[in-house]
């Protein structure tokens, strides 16, 4: 008898529930069994739900059972550090988890999809809670024997199949299994249903793994606008090259939101800040001020929303997103619930103010929200929305316009004043505009947090000197970490600012002091 292999080949599959990790494990087992290799697989599918991280673990002893004389290799049920030959991950973070658990070392081939399925913790963050993909990619490059990384989800969609087929192809193509391409394909065929699509996905994965190409996940940003309206030309002619991309985009956005006068006004507002900023800092202050000023100046009122929702390009984008075929009609229903605030926002100031006052004192403010389902693909629904969009020229007359412009001026004044002494401090102030976003209650809370920081750390001298920028940064981050605003108060308290009491909540429960007396 020739010398037998020292140990089994070990394969760890890291997947999300419902992604077909079990199917992949079954394929591997079937292919190994057909070749008479001793094989064992285990898993922890646990609960039935479709979301959590899960693993499958397989060991193949690469010598035919018939040649073992009845001896059975002892195979493990759990992976052990330093003892995993292949990790196949259906998603990038799960590849990171396998590394974190110590299953990846210089013996390991890591095969992972670079696409991301975000965890709830990452998704629910008020700003950007995403785990940095580059960290995982870098670790994969350093820790593994070899890393096969590409977007398997995209390959699966292209082949009209599920990701497990692409994963199997990549695994087979990586040359780590004692199984040929044909043997693996036979296992897919014997599975029956959907075999043709699976084989297509398998082929895509196989070829990618053979090519040994490593592709980083790409974030597609829309290319900057090439159309030249005069404010954009002004950016090109008079602003520093580093700032042109964002400022050009900002000017174009303002023109799109209102008109080119407004876009010029945007640049007029920015000019003093740009002049105070320095090339040595890469014009970071100018760029970030320009970014948030544009977003703020193009605030989302009903006119803007109606405009965006009634554009021709929007229907095309939606059709593509929902994967409608060219001949299939698509009906769109918008979920709008404008309330008193939205209504008052488009009224002139002299009408809005008393209206809000009355509503506030009578407690009507929260009750007047009208839930509307508007069909923008029907003529009447479209017309309704378009009528709102046609109000655009009247926007400068609305109460919201005046409110926003005043607050913007206050913010810009704070930035400019700070920039004269310390551009780092000014940058922190500029970034605070990130807090203002959303609609309705969310918008109110965000603006409230912004104003709280303005009133306490930015415009007063409670915190002074070098620690001020730091205090602003901390307050901003605290505001973004907690929708209820308690963390912001804690952060301010650390600076010696008395915290606001939590907002009272009305109790509409039945008080039951009298019950169960008997």
């Amino acid at each position: 008898m020739s010398a037998l292999p020292e140990r089994p080949i070990t394969i760890l599959i890291a997947a999300l529930g419902g992604e077909g990790g079990g199917v992949l494990a079954d394929w591997i087992v079937a292919a190994a069994t057909a070749q008479d290799y001793p094989v064992q697989s285990t898993s922890i599918p646990g609960v039935a739900q479709r979301t959590g991280a899960t693993t499958y673990y397989i060991e193949i002893y690469p010598a035919k059972t018939s040649g073992l004389g009845g001896r059975r290799p002892v195979m493990a049920l759990t992976p052990a550090p330093g003892c995993v030959d292949v990790v196949v991950a259906s998603e990038l973070l799960e590849a990171g988890r396998a590394m974190q658990n110590g299953y990846v070392d210089e013996r390991t081939t890591l095969i992972a999809s670079t696409h991301r399925v975000y965890t709830v913790a990452e998704k629910m963050h008020m700003a950007d809670g995403r785990f940095d993909s580059d960290v995982v990619l870098k670790a994969a490059g350093e820790l593994t024997r070899r890393a096969v990384l590409f977007d398997m989800q995209a390959q699966a969609s292209a082949a009209g199949t599920v990701i497990s087929a692409v994963m199997f192809g990549a695994l087979a193509g990586s040359g780590t299994l004692p199984l040929s391409r044909e043997e693996c394909e036979a296992a897919i065929r014997s599975g029956g249903k959907g075999a043709e699509a699976s084989l297509k996905g398998f082929a895509a994965g196989f070829e990618r793994a053979r090519g040994e190409r490593t592709i980083a996940p790409e974030e597609k940003k829309r290319p900057l606008d090439a159309t030249l309206c005069s404010p954009v030309q002004r950016v090109r002619q008079t602003f520093p090259p580093e700032t042109r991309a964002i400022l050009g985009e900002g000017a174009a956005r303002c023109a799109d939101f209102q008109d080119s006068v407004y876009a010029n006004f945007y640049l007029d507002r920015l000019e003093p800040i740009v002049n105070l900023d320095r090339a040595a800092d890469g014009y970071k202050l100018a760029i970030e001020s320009g970014r948030f000023l544009a977003l703020w100046m193009c605030y989302e009122d009903v006119i803007r929303v109606a405009d965006l929702k009634t554009r021709k390009s929007r229907v095309e984008r939606v059709r593509e997103e929902v994967q409608a075929k060219p001949h299939e009609p698509v009906h769109l229903t918008e979920f709008l619930k404008p309330g008193l605030d939205e209504f008052a926002a488009v009224l002139p100031r002299w009408l809005a103010r008393p209206l809000k006052g009355v509503a506030g004192t009578t407690g009507l403010a929260n009750k007047l929200n009208v839930g509307m389902r508007v069909k923008t693909t029907s003529v009447s629904g479209y017309l309704l929305m378009r009528c709102l969009a046609w109000l655009r020229p009247l926007r400068p007359l609305t109460s919201r316009w005046h409110e926003e412009q005043a607050l913007i001026d206050r913010w810009l004044a704070a930035i400019t004043a700070a920039a004269k002494r310390d551009t780092g401090l000014a940058l922190e102030i500029a970034l605070c505009a990130r807090l203002i976003k959303g609609y309705g209650e969310t918008h109110k809370r965000g603006k409230g947090n912004f104003l709280r920081i303005m009133n306490t750390v930015i415009e007063s001298d409670v915190v002074s000197g070098a620690s001020r920028a730091e205090a602003i940064r901390k307050a901003r981050e605290a505001a973004l970490a907690d929708p209820e605003g308690r963390k912001l108060e804690q952060s301010l308290e650390a600076q010696g600012i008395a915290p606001l009491p939590p907002r009272p909540k009305p109790v509409r429960f039945m008080r039951r002091n009298d019950r169960k007396a008997a």
């Binding site: 550090p81 399925v117 629910m124 829309r222 900002g250 997103e321 229903t333 479209y382 959303g438 429960f509």
Partner: protein
Amino acid sequence: MERSFKKEVELLKLKEGQTFHGEGILAVTKALLQSGVSYVGGYQGAPISHMMDVLNDARDIMGDLGIHIETNASEAGAAAMLGASINYPLRGAVAWKSTVGTNVASDALSNLSSAGVRGGALIVIGEDYGEGASIIQERSHAFAMKSQIWLLDPRPDLPTIVRMVEKGFELSEASNTPVMLELRIRACHLHGSFAARDNRAAEFSRKNTLENPDFDFGRIPLPPATYAQERVKVETRWPAAQKFIRENQLNEVFDGTIAEVGIIAQGGMYNAAVRALQQLGLADAFGNSKIPIYALNVTYPLVPEEVGAFCAGKRAVLMVEEGQPAYLEDALHTILRRADLQTKVHGKDCLPMAGEYTGEVVLSGVAKWLEAVAPHTEKAGVDPASVRQAFERLTAPKKRAAELLGTVPARPPGFCIGCPERPVFAAMKLIEREQGAFHISADIGCHTFSTLPPFNIGNTVLGYGLGLASNAAIDAIFSRRTVTVMGDGGFWHNGLTSGVANAVFNKDDGILVIMKNGYTSATGTQAIPSSLHQTEWKSGDMSIERALKGIGVQWLKSVYTYRVSEMAKVLRKAMASPFRGLKVIIADAECQLERQRRIRPQVAAALLRGKRVVRTRFGIDEDVCTGDHSCIRLSGCPSLTIKASSDPLKVDPVAHVDNDCVGCGLCGEVAHAAVLCPSFYRADIVQNPNAWDRFIAGLRRTVIGWLQPAEPRSTT
């Protein structure tokens, strides 16, 4: 049912000389048939849920053998069913998730083991411990000890598992005692092979029925019989069991060259111990180890003669025993003391007291032990320095990974896409925002995920179907009304009696929300009495509503769960209602997973036939979305996710609905109920449109085209 085993159950027909290739649970079922069982049953729960599915899918095969299959109401019911083996020579087996299921079953188990059995009684317990477990972490071992039920813990290797099932019945009959077969999560899902044998029909079955009832007061749990039963247990049955275990060599000794030390392992831990030795260069791929190993396929009772023989002449042994308390290690000390053997016992000093013994844990435990016993192994050529080096080389990448990666965000399981339970918690979250937090007694089921982000709803969990019972004192002592959540699975398991009936009886004033999704969804969507779609084996038309009315619930409202505003309104109403007494809200909508499983093939077939089918899904206008993610904080749907904004000005990712959306409508409902934002849209895509569809769509497109402004800029 989550998974169909229609194809796999063909394996149950294999005959002598054929090889079985398949999953552990299926292998156990095959072993039951090879053992000639008369009846089987159980209650679902991971990791043995699939065993119940297999039994149900194998009704034809079982029918040929005359085997009775019962879908028991609970683990208590399953354990009580084993009473058939007390008086009659019937072999029977039941299965459940442990320890929670064993907790529920323990009343019947005590009575069963005290009375003793004539026919072999086997309990297959899926030990839900460690990674992937969904329950509190305890050991089933304690139940075996307190009731004197023998506990098998076979090596995770299909031939051994199958042999232990077969021998388990013989052991049960030889000692008149029920036997538990413990399978850990991974052993249940273990895919391997074994040589099959013929199935055996039982002497008595549905095909050859019993005729004469047997009466013996000695088997009744009343004094003085109970005193005699206790004595028989320890004086007769225990020694009989030890004799059987010894004579049939149920435990296994694997010799090694280094006789001074040894490892004693639970059968289920054997493979992990061998792998650790392999990694440290002390064993080969076939388990030939330099260090002798004693594998306990029977962990209760121990056989002192065997233990003594293994330890005699050894300076030290390592007890590899997963979980706590360390019953085996303690018993080992006692046995060695009584035998006056001086072997040093290591165990929890090298291995952790609590937690799963994964490959990594056992590896470091064995390495630590080898260091401790180095003086005894050095002359046999084991170099402690090289063991240490090997260990450090194996574990170094984890340290480096931690430096490189920091902490990777956790990904716990959660509600599925379009789950009908999610909207209920979205409604509760809205009320919480409005009026402050209120106490919620949660229960066991998918709905327990409400305690995770983004909802963080549910203050206590006390057991399956026990939500309302656990709220009894809370309800009385809180000034505000409190809410209890219960699933329909829990309702039929326990909740109807210990919860609802009791609350009505005691005139409790709480609010009960029953999640009526039609299945025990968390265990893999098995049918329950109120399931809409029953097989021919089950009785239909058992309604929760009628049961509630029947026991006197007067305030009862049913709400279609996806109507978030409606759900919030009814909850508010229940909270403010002057009605004193239990208020029950039925959150009514079918489990989406099961619904999709049912309708997907129907839709695909309709599309193929050219029928008009409207597909609904939701979407988000990314230029309207500002990236504040407040919609996600009220949903957590896997399909409602984020993506990098394609807008160069926006730094935060925008919300995004991916193509897995099933169009349940929650997004729109939440946008309305929470007054969120106007970014959401619902798209109804008309597939296979008819002439009218095309005409009207064309007309609308034309008219809208006239109204549409020229595009001010390209947005592609």
